[in-house]
């Protein structure tokens, strides 16, 4: 940000942790933070996908016009004069608890353990249901298959605590073109181990998905 003259009309001035930053039109708070090398942890966010807002690790505290609000920075758009705090007590409280939940949700994932340790969380008070689980149901694989690949071979099944990653009708499906996008976007590597529960017999692909 060399001078005020260089500032385009559509850019937005605000602060993150007291540092003056400038967002281009359409940028989210997270994108602005990344452009300014300010670290905000994320798991479900991926630059190639529409933000989904499920992991809630990227929450920040926003102060504006005397009001404060904690919200997901991957979805929130900045406004001029906004004060964004990435390490306030309220934010850290959410983050610490989410990381504790993640340690119980996917205890087998080294990535999650490392991320939690970086934020000082090494143990969890939540009950561990499956010690071998790595999937955190962030939704990246579902989104990439739907938005980027366009075949919708993956979906979420059930609801609430029973929610899990499934294929339509819970059988390996021939829609899957075996591109591996889901595996490459998975933040914990969980999908690599279950790719064969998704991918059907490629030689039997028919219909619309065959066109791929």
């Amino acid at each position: 940000m060399s001078s005020k003259k260089a500032k385009k009309d559509d850019s937005i001035d605000f602060t993150i942790d007291g540092q003056k930053v400038q967002a281009r039109e359409g940028w989210t708070i997270l994108e602005t933070a990344r452009a300014n090398h300010i670290d905000i942890p994320t798991l479900c966010y991926h630059p190639a996908l529409h933000p989904w807002g499920s992991c809630r690790l990227c929450v920040v505290e926003i102060r504006q016009d005397g009001r404060t609000n904690v919200t997901a920075s991957c979805l929130a758009k900045p406004a001029a004069g906004m004060e964004v705090l990435t390490r306030s007590e309220r934010v850290e409280n959410v983050r610490r608890w989410v990381l504790e939940m993640l340690l119980a949700e996917c205890p087998a994932s080294q990535e999650i353990r490392d991320l939690a340790a970086r934020h000082g969380v090494t143990a969890t008070r939540f009950a561990i249901t499956d010690p071998a689980e790595e999937c955190l149901k962030c939704g990246r694989c579902v989104a990439v298959c739907n938005e980027v690949v366009g075949v919708r071979a993956l979906t979420f099944g059930s609801r609430g605590v029973k929610k899990k990653l499934e294929t339509p009708y819970r059988v390996p499906n021939n829609m899957c073109i075996g591109c591996g996008c889901c595996v490459s976007v998975c933040p914990t590597g969980a999908l690599q181990k279950r790719l064969d529960t998704v991918r059907g017999d490629i030689s039997r692909r028919t219909g619309a998905s065959f066109a791929h």
Binding site: G53, S54, C55, R56, V59, V70, A72, L75, K77, R90, V91, N93, V94, R96, W97, V98, E100, M101, L102, A104, E105, R125, F126, A127, L136, K137, G139, F156, S158, R159, G160, V161, K162, K163
Partner: protein, 630 residues
């Protein structure tokens, strides 16, 4: 039936129908509300019809048997209202019907034994009963008096007159302005100013020309709440009329009624009402010759509590999985199929015709400033008179619970109220409002802002009254379990946090844990409030957080003393038989499912604590109250 093409024709129809009806005609209005239906109201109405057929009485005018929506005093069902005389009969059974027909419909006299009695006084008409006396029926005016399946009955009661006035005499902007001045706030729980939503949607539609959609939120999933159900079942035309007026104000031509699948009667009544309104030309093209078109489509929910959240409703209507998405953008900007959409609660829509009818200023005089109008509550729990009540906003909690509710049954005393369903809080009954002006009142003022200051919410209108035999830990646990089940599972804090919170409470209910765990639970609750994606997760910890705030001692009693003061949490209580009072009847031993009570007739009985499952059957059956809980 011929279509109505102008306001004059609507007026004519109403007048003709009124002229044709005989004011002397005896009418029996049988309540077919959910409470009465469960108590056999269907059989009562059939009994009336067959008793009339059998009766050889010489009627001047054949009596009319009308089945209506909820009369309100659900704990006393089946309720029957008879005119002339306006007698209100309670706890009517099919076998009482021949006597009612002979004595009241034929003879015009009252059947004393069927009247409602309280403290030795018998009350003849509903208006005399204390339960109804303190109420103010505006929205429920026609619920319980009209036949919801007959549009003619509704028109006689004045339905669609407000719509005629709005469509033919007012400009769309005047309608929005009227709603604005009336001060109407969303009745679904949030209390958001309705006119603000309407105006934003209308403005957004002007910026990006195209359709605007309206949705009536009838996904009333809170346990113990039946306000919207009563409106949809008892006066479906009020909702339809409100939506047409709203549609005219915002330039919308399509409305959706989103009603939960578990309300089959509401769905039936609404679909009949919509059909009849179409047949009369009150829906469809060129309504009343005004040139305004409006269509309504009925959609059923599929049993997900989270589909009461507005973005989840939109997802569900679009055919996607009913999961919320982040707001902003709000539905008034980007709603159904990307178009500005206004979602109001059923009760909010039903308020609209009354605002037009009464005028904004008169409506605003109801209630208190910033919370105008009346609010419908479903008053349940430990009160003598549970049921559906409508009161002006700002009524004191004491008046609502004691005057209308009739106090707590038995020897117990009031402890707390839980408002706003699972997302609401538990506040002590004695709580005074924090503002000085409100604190002068006997108890808390029931309005949006006062309720919010206590940490609870006004919510949709569920009000559960608790006495000293109810445990706050247990109730908070019940609501958490409900929400854990109903969480969509999209965001981590809600999906796993609720499970974690429930884990803490499960420990507490067993007397496990440390006082530090209470602080940890509070901090986890705050993480859910701040971190969750939608309103369900953000408000889910309310019951836990408010109960810790006001009843920390009760939590500590569980953890430190390993006692449940209310005698509810099974792991912390034991049943014993008082040797002084036991008369040796043996009923407890006969009924004990575990057969762990032993003794000889006429001698003392004892409970084997090792085998006892603390179900409480012995306490319930003991005729001399010799079974104690500690």
């Amino acid at each position: 039936m011929k279509k109505i093409m102008s306001a004059a024709e609507l007026q004519d129809l109403s007048q003709t129908l009124l002229a044709a009806s005989d004011p002397d005609q005896p009418v029996a209005r049988v309540c077919l509300g959910p409470g009465c239906l469960a108590l056999g109201a269907e059989k009562v109405s059939q009994a009336f019809r067959s008793a009339l057929k059998k009766s050889n009485a010489n009627f001047k005018v054949q009596p009319l048997i009308k089945t209506t929506g909820c009369h309100g005093l659900c704990s006393q069902g089946t309720l029957v209202n008879l005119s002339p005389g306006n007698f209100m009969y309670v706890r009517v059974k099919p076998e009482d019907v021949p006597e009612i027909v002979e004595t009241t419909l034929v003879g015009g006299k009252v059947v004393e034994r069927l009247l409602y009695s309280e403290n030795g006084t018998r009350y003849r008409t509903a208006a005399d009963i204390p339960f109804y006396r303190a109420q103010q029926k505006v929205i429920l005016k026609n619920v319980g008096t009209i036949d919801p399946l007959d549009i003619k009955d509704a028109i006689m009661a004045g339905a669609y007159q407000s719509m005629a006035k709005a469509l033919l005499e007012m400009s769309p902007d005047e309608v929005i302005h009227t709603v604005e001045v009336s001060g109407l706030r969303g009745r679904g729980g949030g209390g958001f100013p309705t006119a603000y939503k309407w105006r934003r949607a209308a403005e957004n539609a002007q910026e990006k020309p195209g359709p605007v959609f309206l949705i009536a939120n009838g996904e009333e999933g809170d346990p113990g709440a039946f306000m919207d159900r009563a409106i949809m079942e008892g006066d479906p035309h009020a909702v339809i009329e409100g939506m047409i007026i709203g549609g005219y104000a915002m330039g919308a031509h399509q409305g959706f009624l989103y009603v939960r699948h578990e309300y089959p009667i509401a769905i039936q009544h609404l679909s009949v009402a919509v059909q009849q309104a179409y047949a009369l030309g009150l829906l469809g093209k060129n309504i009343l010759g005004s040139g305004f078109d409006f269509d309504i489509q009925l959609n059923r929910g599929a049993g997900a509590y989270v589909c009461g959240e507005e973005t989840a409703i939109i997802a569900s209507l679009e055919g996607r999985v009913g999961e919320p998405v982040v707001r902003p953008p709000y539905p008034v900007e980007l709603g159904l199929w990307g178009r500005p959409t206004v979602i109001n609660n059923v009760e909010t829509w039903a308020n609209v015709p009354h605002i037009i009818r009464l005028g904004a200023e008169s409506y605003a005089k109801l209630g208190v400033p910033h919370s105008t109008g009346t609010k419908i509550f479903s008053l349940v729990g430990k009160v003598r008179n549970s049921g559906l009540v409508e009161v002006p906003m700002g009524i004191s909690l004491g008046a609502l619970v004691e005057e209308i509710g009739g106090g707590v049954p038995g020897q117990a005393h009031f402890k707390a109220v839980q408002t706003g369903g699972p997302s609401g809080g538990i506040v002590p009954y004695e709580l005074k409002d924090v503002t000085a002006e409100a604190a002068e009142k006997k108890t808390l003022s029931v309005d949006f802002d006062s309720m919010a200051r206590t940490g609870s919410i006004m919510g949709g209108g569920g009000m559960i009254v608790m006495d000293n035999h109810d445990c706050v830990v247990d109730l908070a646990r019940y609501f958490l379990r409900f929400l854990e089940e109903e969480s969509c599972g999209k965001c981590l804090p809600c999906r796993l946090g609720l499970k974690g919170m429930l884990g803490f409470l499960d420990h507490f209910a067993k007397g496990e844990g440390t006082p530090e765990d209470i602080d940890a639970l509070e901090s986890l609750g705050q993480a859910l409030v701040d971190g969750s994606l939608c309103g369900l997760g953000k408000s889910a910890p309310n019951a836990v957080l408010t109960s810790i705030r006001y009843f920390r001692d009760e939590y500590l009693a569980h953890i430190v003393d390993h006692k449940c003061p209310a005698g509810v949490c099974k792991d912390l209580i034991s049943f014993s038989i008082d040797p002084e009072t036991c008369d040796g009847c043996g009923l407890c031993a006969e009924n004990c499912p575990e057969e762990c009570i032993t003794g000889k007739k006429k001698k003392l009985f004892t409970i084997n604590p090792a085998a006892c499952i603390r179900c409480g059957v012995c306490r319930d059956v003991c005729p001399v109250n010799a079974v104690h809980v500690a």
